[in-house]
C-alpha cells in the first residue's frame, strides 16, 4: 500500500482525536465527539496493517480479539460508582503497552542515540504509569487503605530510586545494553508504586489524571522511536491536555500539585489519627425525630455523597424531596465539584438516576444559602463538608473548598458508621451539638425517613 495513503489516514485519525477532545470539553456534542474519536481509532488501526510489511497477522488479530473480549464487557459491566478505578486500570494497561512497544523496538533495533533516549523515556514513564495506576486502582477499590501510606525512609527511598532510574536511563543511551533496560523497567515499576503510595484520599483522582498524562507522553516517545507521527500527535495531545486537566482539577480542589504529590512525605501533613471513633459522644436521632425536623423546615439542602451513590439511593432521595416539597418545604441539592470520587462524578451519578436538574446547585450557588437553611441533610458525604478544610491548616484536606454545611441551623448526617470518609480524617461537625446522626445504609435510612414524613400530620 502507498505510504502516502497510510499517512493521510493517520492524519485523518489525528484530526478525529483533536475533534474528540475538543468536543468533550462542552456537554452539547460530547457523546458524538467521543464516537468521532472511536472512529478515528478504527481508521488508524485498520490502516496500520498496510503500514510496511506486517507479518504475524493471525496472531495480532487474535490478540486484538482477546483485548476486545476483555475490554468491552469490563467497561459495560462497571458500575458508575466504580468509574474512577476503571479509568485507572485502563490507563495502567495503556502505560504498560507503551512501555512494551518501546522495549520491543529496542530489542529489535537499537537505533541511534536519539532513539535510545526516547526508548528509555517510553519504558520508564510507561512503567511508572502502569504500576502507579495499579496502586490507585487498589486504593479506589478499597483493596488497600485510601489514606497516605508512609513507608519508613519513604522519602529517601523514593529519591534513591529516582536517582537510580535516571542513572540507568543515562547509561542505556551509549551502551544500548538490554540488561540495563530491563533493570530500568523494574526500577520504573518500583518508582510508580513509591510515587502513588503517599497520595491519599480525595487526591487519588488527581494522581490518576497525572498518570494519564504520563501515559500520553510515553506513547509519544514510542511514536518517536517508531517514527510514527500519529503516535506522536495523539500521545502529545493527551500528555499536554492531561497535564492541564490535572492542574485544573487540583485548582478546583484548592490544592497544589506539589502538596498532593509530596505533602504526605512531611509528617505534619498526616492529620487525624483515624483510630476507632474516640470516646466523644455524638447525638443520634430516630427517623421520626428527623422527619419532624425536615417536615417542618422552610428550607432543606440535600448534600449527596458517595455513600448515597453506593447505596443506589437516588430514587428514594427524590421521593423524600418530593414529599417535602409537597409540604411546602423548599428543597435543593448542593453538589460539591468532587462529590463522589472524581471531579464531576456526582453529576454523572445523579444524571443516571434522573434527579431533576433544576434542583441541583453548584457549590458557589448553594454556599451563600446554607446560612439561612434550616436543615442540611448530608447523605454519605463526609470530606466535602468537613470544616477542617477551612480552619485546620495541618489537615490533609486544608484548603479544599467545602460546602458550608456547618452554617446551617441544624445538620442531619446519614452515615453507615463513624468510620471517617475517603480522606481518612475525623469530621468535627459530627460532634457538633446541632448535628443529628442516623446510622445505616443510605437507602434504608432514607426509606424510613420517607415513611416517617408520610405519617406527619
Amino acid at each position: 500500500m502507498s505510504q502516502d495513503l497510510v499517512h493521510l489516514v493517520y492524519l485523518l485519525a489525528a484530526l478525529c482525536f483533536i475533534l474528540a477532545l475538543k468536543g468533550l470539553s462542552t456537554p452539547r456534542h460530547a457523546r458524538t465527539a467521543n464516537l468521532v474519536g472511536a472512529l478515528g481509532m478504527v481508521f488508524a488501526v485498520a490502516i496500520a496493517f498496510g503500514d510496511g510489511r506486517i507479518g504475524n497477522v493471525g496472531w495480532i488479530l487474535a490478540a486484538i480479539a482477546l483485548g476486545v473480549i476483555i475490554g468491552i464487557p469490563a467497561a459495560r459491566a462497571v458500575k458508575m460508582t466504580a468509574i474512577p478505578q476503571m479509568v485507572a486500570l485502563f490507563n495502567g494497561v495503556g502505560g504498560a503497552a507503551a512501555a512494551l512497544v518501546a522495549l520491543t523496538e529496542f530489542l529489535a533495533t537499537t537505533g541511534n542515540a536519539g532513539m535510545r533516549a526516547a526508548t528509555v523515556f517510553g519504558v520508564l514513564v510507561g512503567c511508572v504509569s502502569f504500576s502507579g495506576s495499579l496502586v490507585t486502582f487498589l486504593k479506589l477499590q478499597e483493596l488497600m487503605t485510601t489514606r497516605p501510606v508512609i513507608l519508613p525512609y519513604g522519602r529517601s527511598t523514593a529519591i534513591g530510586v529516582s536517582v537510580l532510574c535516571l542513572g540507568l536511563a543515562v547509561a542505556v543511551v551509549p551502551t544500548a545494553s538490554t540488561a540495563l533496560v530491563i533493570t530500568l523497567s523494574v526500577a520504573g515499576l518500583l518508582l510508580g508504586v513509591l510515587f502513588v503510595l503517599p497520595v491519599g484520599g480525595a487526591d487519588v483522582p488527581i494522581a490518576i489524571s497525572l498518570l494519564n498524562a504520563f501515559t500520553g507522553l510515553a506513547v509519544a516517545a514510542s511514536g518517536y522511536v517508531l517514527g510514527n507521527t500519529l503516535l506522536i500527535v495523539a500521545g502529545t495531545l493527551v500528555g499536554a491536555s492531561g497535564t492541564l486537566l490535572t492542574r485544573m482539577m487540583a485548582k478546583a480542589m484548592g490544592r497544589s500539585l506539589t502538596n498532593i504529590l509530596f505533602g504526605a512525605f512531611t509528617p505534619a501533613a498526616i492529620g487525624g489519627d483515624g483510630g476507632p471513633a474516640e470516646s466523644r459522644t455524638v447525638r443520634t436521632g430516630t427517623p421520626e425525630d428527623i422527619a419532624i425536623m425536615l417536615g417542618y423546615a422552610r428550607t432543606v439542602v440535600v448534600i449527596p455523597g458517595y455513600g448515597l451513590a453506593v447505596a443506589q439511593a437516588q430514587h428514594v432521595v427524590r421521593e423524600l424531596a418530593d414529599l417535602l416539597a409537597g409540604r411546602g418545604v423548599e428543597v435543593a441539592y448542593g453538589i460539591h465539584p468532587v462529590a463522589g470520587r472524581m471531579p464531576g462524578h456526582m453529576n454523572v451519578l445523579l444524571a443516571e438516576a434522573d434527579v431533576p436538574y433544576a434542583q441541583l446547585k453548584e457549590m458557589e450557588e448553594v454556599n451563600p444559602r446554607l446560612a439561612s437553611t434550616d436543615v442540611a441533610l448530608v447523605i454519605g458525604a463526609n470530606d466535602v463538608v468537613n470544616p477542617a478544610a477551612r480552619d485546620q491548616p495541618e489537615s490533609p484536606i486544608y484548603g479544599m473548598p467545602i460546602l458550608d454545611v456547618d452554617k446551617a441551623d441544624s445538620v442531619v448526617f446519614l452515615k453507615r458508621s463513624m468510620r471517617p470518609g475517603f480522606a481518612g480524617i475525623e469530621n468535627e461537625l459530627l460532634f457538633n451539638p446541632r448535628t443529628t446522626l442516623l446510622f445505616g445504609d443510605a437507602k434504608d435510612s432514607l426509606s424510613s425517613l420517607v415513611t416517617a414524613v408520610k405519617q406527619l400530620a
Partner: protein
C-alpha cells in the same frame, strides 16, 4: 536529520493543540474528559501492531502481542466507558 526535526515540529505543535483543546472545560466534564483522553492514548495499539508485525524472535513477538492485548483493552474500554458516562449527560439534555 530533517526527519527528526519534523517529528520534533509535530511534537511541539501538538503540545499547543493539547493545551488549547481543554483550556476551557467545565468542571462537570472533568471525569468524561479524563476517560476520553485515556481512550485516545490507546492509539499505542497502532505502535503495538507495527512492532508485532515485524517481530522476528519469539521474545519480541510475545512482548508485542502482550502490548496489543493491553492497548486494545485501553482503547475499547476507554471509549465504551466514556460513552456510557456521556449517555447519562445527554439523557439529561433531552429532558430539560
Amino acid at each position: 536529520m530533517t526527519g527528526e526535526i519534523s517529528l520534533l515540529t509535530i511534537f511541539v505543535l501538538s503540545v499547543f493543540v493539547g493545551f488549547e483543546v481543554v483550556s476551557k472545560v467545565a468542571a462537570i466534564l472533568h471525569t468524561p474528559l479524563m476517560s476520553g483522553a485515556n481512550a485516545i492514548h490507546g492509539v499505542i495499539l497502532v505502535g503495538a501492531i507495527l512492532v508485532a508485525g515485524k517481530a522476528e524472535s519469539t521474545v519480541e513477538l510475545v512482548l508485542a502481542l502482550l502490548a496489543v492485548v493491553f492497548a486494545t483493552v485501553n482503547v475499547v474500554g476507554g471509549f465504551v466507558a466514556t460513552d456510557r458516562m456521556l449517555s447519562m449527560f445527554s439523557g439529561k439534555e433531552r429532558r430539560r
